[in-house]
């Protein structure tokens, strides 16, 4: 059985990528299983998805603890402990990271080691489509290539999954074409599935009674969302061009994080530590004064 784990941010397309690989494998006659895991939906929040491919019925379910291939849609997830990107990764695991950095730069800046493949899918998508968007087809094609799937089945899987999402034929064709470029651009690797060393017995520990002040789900540490930065969630950032702003405040009203304030001159200002990059402000801006810039990789956001 081949186990592929996808890590992305809400809106990037990790779940759809896992389905593209699942469908492609299924079309090739394999037994496939795919599933996502996420909390209450939030664009930018860490998302994981899992695809299993086998020749026999699949008995595993839920999260993949020891992946053969890990596909990372946004390199900033590697440093986020809640995303658990490197959990269960060993010397046999192949890692793909969507990043403008070279493998050596990534190794230097993160705790990634071992077998690493890097390609800047976001840049390819920006150049080809001229705007940001989900990169599910690209991630799916890369993962399919690394998993040894055939291009025809990936092409067909992209059509099926993107049609299922309600995308139009021209959009699907553009995605398909770029996905196949990505497929070709990635060097095939030899994945090494097969039995891993047995896991030792779990070290169990039963919690003891705590007083209700501690043993009840609650927070007493005072308001701390103000010190919680969600900067790392952004793959793109909204940037205001004041000369185009008509002061309508729609961006201020639509920001789900309250990250936009209004200055004394009536113009909005984005407070970046609380901006998760959902870009709802860009969508609602009637004068295109809110523009989009890609977050530089590894920069101090």
């Amino acid at each position: 059985m081949l186990s592929i784990r996808f890590h992305g941010r809400g809106g990037q397309g990790a779940k759809t990528a896992s389905r593209i690989v699942g469908t492609a494998a299924f079309l090739e006659g394999f037994t496939a299983q795919d599933s996502p895991i996420y909390g209450a939906e939030r664009r930018g929040a860490p998302v994981a998805a899992f695809t299993r491919i086998a020749k026999k019925p699949i008995r595993e379910r839920g999260l993949i603890a020891r992946p053969d291939l890990v596909v990372v849609a946004d390199a900033s997830l590697i440093g986020d402990p809640s995303a658990r990107v490197l959990d269960g990764v060993d010397e046999r695991t192949v890692l793909f990271v969507n990043s403008p950095l070279t493998p050596d730069q990534l190794r230097a800046r993160t705790s990634v080691s071992g077998r690493l493949t890097v390609l800047d899918l976001t840049d390819l998508a920006l150049k080809q489509f001229g705007k940001r968007g989900a990169i599910s087809a690209l991630l799916g094609a890369v993962a399919g290539r690394l998993a040894g799937l055939r291009p025809e089945s990936i092409r067909e899987a992209i059509v099926r999954e993107l049609t299922d999402l309600g995308l139009t034929a021209p959009v699907i064709e553009r995605n398909q074409a770029l996905a196949m470029q990505c497929f070709e651009a990635v060097q095939p690797v030899t994945l090494e599935p097969g039995p891993r060393a047995p896991v030792p017995s779990a070290q169990l520990r039963t919690p003891t009674y705590d007083p209700p002040t501690r043993g009840t789900a609650g927070i007493t540490a005072g308001p701390n969302s103000a010190i919680r930065s969600v900067s790392g969630w952004r793959t793109f950032r909204p940037v205001l061009r004041p000369d185009l702003c008509n002061g309508c405040w729609l961006c201020f009203a639509s920001c789900p994080e309250g990250a936009i304030t209004i200055k004394p001159d009536g113009k909005p200002a984005v407070y970046y530590p609380h901006c998760k990059g959902c870009l709802d402000c860009v969508e609602v801006c009637p004068t295109d004064a809110m523009t989009v810039e890609r977050e530089p990789e590894g920069a101090n956001k």
Binding site: G22, F26, Q33, P200, L204, R205, P207, A221
Partner: protein, 413 residues
């Protein structure tokens, strides 16, 4: 690979179950992780693929009342909910069971508040175990669609005439795609003839009262006991339905599902989708020479006591892995397993209770290994253990860190 199979989530399989059963009425209210089911049915009703009336209600309490009332008119009714939604409808569950209305309710398991979460365990569906609903718990997406068809046949049988709940786990089944073969409509028609109830058919021109008031206890006792008898009849009706389903559709679902039991000295008892992982753990343990097997409980109500006794008698040790927690007691299914083995002369030397997978916590390979090791030791000792909580040292440390953030860390502002 069967050419007819397609990749499908558990939720889509549930919607297909309703569509293939050609239901007439779908009262709906959304809740994660069930919402996809009613969304899909809504789309099909609007598009004409399903000739049913789809109605959104103001709450699950209203939804379940509407389901029972529509069923009392003789309509074939399907509805679905999850977790807090099931609990919000709780009063009505017992009420409609007493109306003896044979509709099908899908519950997508999700752990209960508080604290609130989205991921699965079985405290929701097992809270409803005494409502009078029959309960079938599914392991795979295939089983979801097949169980819904079986559920209608069992529910509508005059020997039963009770509502049936089909359970599937949130996320690990509801959002998980795997290959599913949809039965052909002709097969479904043969297995599940159109619903023509002789005793139902409430209509405006012929009003009657259902669930009327009774005082004094003896009348109440009679009617409540009838519900019990109807549920117990469900055992034989279930077996007939399973045999007919196998004959027509080629897949067999016994009330209990034994995996590598033949020569197993220790047996792990589980339910629902995580039983797949349990089976994989059995394979792994067998490779290391442990003679273990797994018993999956599929039919929970009525309780197939005889089949369970047959499967577990003479074993060295039995471990029950409850993905639920009854505070002040322990595991719910452990109690029921223990009760039905008590009078068995060849009862296992040790009964072990494990509590795991709460709130969707992953059942890890290491946890299954711990279960098999501790169960074998208990079997050798001849003394059971538990309830043992599947919770690790590493998780304990993480929890302490989070408690520090939630309580001790001051913002310094």
């Amino acid at each position: 690979m069967n050419q007819a199979s397609q990749m499908m989530t558990g939720n889509l399989a549930a919607a297909w179950g309703a569509r293939l059963a050609d239901v007439d009425y779908v009262p709906a209210f959304p809740i994660t992780p069930q919402t996809e089911i009613v969304e899909t049915l809504s789309k099909w009703c609007a598009g004409g693929e399903l000739n049913a009336r789809f109605v959104t209600l103001d709450s699950e309490h209203s939804m379940m009342t509407a389901a029972g009332a529509a069923s009392a008119t003789g309509a074939r009714v399907f509805t679905a909910t999850s977790s807090q939604g099931l609990l919000h409808a709780f009063e009505v569950l017992y009420t409609v069971a007493g109306w003896r209305v044979p509709f099908v309710l899908v519950n997508v398991s999700r752990a209960l508040a508080s604290p609130i979460t989205l991921e699965p365990d079985h405290n929701d569906v097992l809270a409803a175990r005494d409502s009078g609903f029959l309960q079938i718990h599914a392991e795979t997406c295939q089983e979801v669609v097949d169980s819904i068809l079986m559920a209608y046949r069992i529910a509508e049988d005059p020997r039963v005439c009770l509502p049936v709940m089909v359970n599937l786990d949130g996320f690990v089944l509801s959002f998980t795609r795997e290959p599913v073969v949809l039965p052909e409509p002709a097969m479904v028609h043969e297995f599940l003839p159109p619903f023509r109830p002789a005793h139902l058919g409430f209509k405006a021109s012929a009003p009657h009262a259902l669930g009327t008031a009774v005082v004094g206890g003896s009348i109440y006792t009679y009617f409540r006991h009838q519900i019990h008898l109807a549920s117990m009849n469900g055992l034989a009706v279930y077996d007939e339905a399973a045999a007919a389903f196998e004959r027509i559709c080629g897949r067999r679902y016994a009330a209990i599902d034994g995996y590598r039991l033949d020569d197993a000295e220790d047996v792990l008892v589980m339910t629902n989708a995580s039983a797949s992982k349990g089976k994989a753990a059995v394979d792994a343990a067998r490779e290391e020479g442990r003679r273990v097997g797994l018993l999956r409980l599929r039919l929970i109500r009525p309780w197939p006591a005889e089949a369970i006794r047959d499967a577990l008698q003479g074993r060295r040790a039995v471990a029950v892995l409850d993905q639920n927690l009854a505070p002040g007691q322990g595991g719910i299914l452990f109690q029921e397993i223990a009760a039905c083995l008590y009078h068995e002369a060849l009862r296992p030397r040790a009964l072990c209770s494990f509590i795991g997978g709460l709130g969707g916590k992953n059942l890890s390979e290491g946890e299954f290994r711990a279960i098999f090791e501790q169960t074998a030791e208990a079997g050798v000792r001849g003394k059971g253990i538990g309830p043992v909580l599947l919770y690790t040292e590493a998780e304990h440390r993480e929890m302490q860190q989070m408690q520090y953030l939630a309580h001790e860390l001051k913002t310094g502002r």
